[in-house]
Symmetry: C2
Subunit: 151 residues, 2 copies
Amino acid sequence: MVQGTFLQSHALFGGLSNEAIDGILPLLAEESFPAGTNIVNEGESDDRLYLICKGSVEVIKSVDTPGGRRDHSLAVLGVGEAFGEMELIDMQPRSATVRALENVSAVSLSNANLFEIYESNLETFTLIILNIAREISRRLRTMDALAGSSP
Amino acid sequence: MVQGTFLQSHALFGGLSNEAIDGILPLLAEESFPAGTNIVNEGESDDRLYLICKGSVEVIKSVDTPGGRRDHSLAVLGVGEAFGEMELIDMQPRSATVRALENVSAVSLSNANLFEIYESNLETFTLIILNIAREISRRLRTMDALAGSSP
């Protein structure tokens, strides 16, 4: 069972009160994935955000190379890190594949769950959206800096 | 004077009621910039979002090259387009310089203005943040795709 303190330590739930966290906990689905499993697949429709509780994952994007399409590793994420923030709010297809590097435990939150939070507690919903926007902004700044370093 | 219909046609204010738009209009500052002016400067602290009402701008990032630091053009934005979404919500320094390519009229919204909206109308604030998050997400997907095409 995921503890509220684990959620509260995460940037996406930063600023939420104990009561708000208690309201979110029942909405989270706990899931396990054996090492080597694709948790999400690039191009598929799936609007869940995942937060890693145990293990680590690799974020992989299929890219065109002169020798055909190849897997390109974008990042490795561990305990306390999340993926799927963009899909949770824009409901576009998965931008990358995420594969379990070892046995992984995670909690997930769907867009429908997020809408439940919106209906029951607008203040909590707003804080989560603001935290997600800041996280996506942080990633975009990193990508912009990378693009700037190799024009 | 900026019209509410102009705001409503913009993605950042999508979904807002006429009443919500009427509440935002008095918070917007109208500004003019002669051709060639830097409206914002990379690295500076400035938390305003700008929405272009007339003219066009160039988004420029200073990059390291073997021959020293050079200006690198990232994008040209025109009427109805915005810049500064990230700074409005994360209050980090400007990620790029934005220069007026011709005489530009724009309206701007500061983080303090956004906080006024938060205090007076949480529903409106939430919609704006959600729209900003989706816009930043759209840009990150574009950057991810670019990164994927040249690994």
